[in-house]
């Protein structure tokens, strides 16, 4: 279980709204949770507001989005009132973010090394020499065998798994205390996924930091995370320890679990989720 004494992030009643032509859509509604030095998973269907939540924490929501909350506290910083200047010094240094597909989330015309060392130079005013050696060390840390060579490669020259490890090293090089990973492995093969996750797992445990792991793979979250937040249509319907997922109470969570085909408990017909409008009322 998470140790509440060590809370890194507290979110209370956060909502994110998008004004559109046909009125205001509320992508996230009254979401509350805390993150400690633990791996917390967020699951839910597509469009349930997982990514929006993650980005709102970093204040990286699209410019037209409106974020409201009673409280958004990250360590000693009030994310609701922090200036853009302050946010910039927090992003990448104290809160980092890993995105889904390394193919698109790395700049195609900058070398891998350049992109990683940029973070160090930015946040720690390191010289490029220092940055380079830090980068090489970090690449080695994520199990890249020939960091010197990889440093000068361009993103299109590395494989997906390697790209995701580069992404991890880029985000962890400045030693943040919270990482938000938005489906970091869903673009990867099963075999590679395992490897990337174990590196991430190691780093989080080793540095004793918090991880928000966004995914829609129930099995993955169950086995990887400590705690799971289940979202439905922008709301948190349930928060539960990963180990207790099978005992989940909310019909939505249950529905998801039952809809899953399983090697261990084969079923002839899968159960179909029946949505209850009542779930939309908090």
């Amino acid at each position: 279980m998470a140790n509440t004494s060590d809370t890194i992030l507290t979110v209370e009643n956060m909502s994110v709204e998008f004004p559109t032509l046909s009125g205001v859509t509320t992508a996230v509604r009254d979401v509350s949770f805390t993150v400690g030095r633990e791996k917390i998973g967020i699951i839910g269907e597509s469009g349930s507001g997982k990514s929006t939540t993650g980005r709102a924490i970093m204040r990286l929501q699209p410019p037209q989005a409106i974020v409201k909350a009673n409280r958004m506290q990250f360590e000693d910083i009030d994310l609701l009132t922090a200036s853009e200047e302050e946010m910039r010094s927090i992003r990448g240094r104290r809160i980092a973010m890993i995105l889904q597909d390394p193919k698109y989330s790395l700049n195609p015309v900058m070398t891998v090394g350049e992109q990683i060392s940029e973070t160090v130079i930015l946040h720690e005013r390191a010289t490029s020499q220092e940055a380079r050696s830090r980068t090489l060390a970090m690449l080695e840390r994520v199990n890249i065998r020939d960091p010197e060579r990889v440093f000068d490669l361009y993103p299109h020259e590395v494989s997906g798994g390697m790209g995701q490890r580069i992404m991890i090293s880029m985000m962890l090089i400045a030693q943040p205390s919270l990482i938000i990973a938005d489906e970091p492995t869903s673009a990867l093969d099963v075999t590679v996924r395992q490897q990337v996750l174990s590196i991430l797992d190691d780093l989080v445990v080793e540095r004793n930091i918090g991880l928000i792991f966004i995914s829609h793979d129930l099995n993955l979250v169950r086995s990887f995370c400590d705690r799971v937040i289940i979202m439905y249509a922008g709301r948190v319907v349930e928060t539960i320890a990963a180990a207790d997922l099978d005992q989940a109470q909310h019909p939505y969570t249950r529905g998801l679990l039952n809809a899953l085909p399983s090697l261990d408990h084969p079923k002839d017909r899968l159960e179909v989720l029946r949505r209850d409008p009542a779930w939309l009322e908090n």
Partner: protein
């Protein structure tokens, strides 16, 4: 009676020195009403095999027999209608500027079929979509609904075989369940034969009778459903895939060091 017979099938892309042999000598048979699975990591050639069977990929060697008829590189319309492909991405596989009705009408026009409205209504009902959906455009449909449309389009020519290329991997689990159920029902009702590509062994085990494990263009093992469920598969690679579909296996917890067996 076997519906599909592939013998020493090999397929490649490109010409001359840039030619790339992607599928190397696979042979298999699928019985009528059977569902045959194909699993393997990205790029190992799963879609290419389906392409060769469907008539999309014309650069293949070996022999293919469908419904007792030997198939050449060029096919007649009737031969094309015997098997239909369902694609992975429900957002890219339906013409964005055709209404659903139009999309379903198209194959009927190509094949000069009669009773067109009747057939469209039937197939929409078959896949569980309301009839007035035929006036909608794809962007007005959810992913699951679109995948139903894609299946409907495949079914409207009354094929004997459906070639399913990761039909649910872009969908949420709840919707995946609906589609998988639909596929099961259809198979039973229409006496269809499936080849299903997936990277989720759980899905494969749910639907398939037999499954071929692929690695870099070849089959490493063909396992039965029973073997999967009983966890008695032989090949190491198959095991990795099985572990993968169960979720994350912590190495720290296993305390096995960093490298995993290949």
């Amino acid at each position: 009676m076997s519906m599909i017979k592939a013998h020493h099938l090999a397929a490649s892309y490109g010409h001359g020195d840039t030619a790339l042999k992607v599928v190397k000598d696979v042979s298999f048979e699928v019985q009528k009403g059977e569902t045959f699975g194909l699993v393997g990591e990205s790029g190992c050639g799963k879609s290419t095999i389906l392409g060769a069977l469907a008539g999309r990929n014309k650069q293949w060697t070996g022999s293919i027999e469908i419904d007792g008829e030997t198939i050449g590189q060029k096919r007649t319309r009737a031969q094309l209608a015997k098997q239909q492909l369902v694609f992975q991405d429900p957002f890219g596989s339906i013409h964005p500027r055709h209404t659903i009705g139009r999309t379903l009408l198209e194959p009927l026009e190509i094949h000069g079929k009669d009773r067109r409205q009747e057939r469209i209504e039937k197939v929409l009902t078959d896949v569980g979509l309301p009839l007035n959906f035929r006036y909608r455009y794809p962007h007005q449909l959810s992913g699951g609904q679109r995948q139903r449309v894609a299946i409907a389009r495949a079914l409207i020519l009354e094929p004997k075989i459906l070639l399913l290329d990761e039909p649910t991997s872009a969908l949420d689990v709840s919707i995946q369940a609906e589609i998988l159920n639909l596929l099961k029902d259809l198979r039973q009702r229409e006496q269809l034969t499936y080849i299903l590509v997936s990277h989720d062994l759980a899905v494969v085990a749910h639907l398939c009778d037999r499954v071929a494990m692929m690695q870099s263009g070849g089959f490493v093992e063909i396992a039965t459903r029973q073997q999967l469920l009983e966890n008695t598969v032989e090949h190491a690679y198959t095991r990795i895939l099985m572990d993968g579909s169960r979720g994350y296996v912590s190495e720290r917890r296993n305390n096995k060091g960093e490298a995993l067996p290949v």
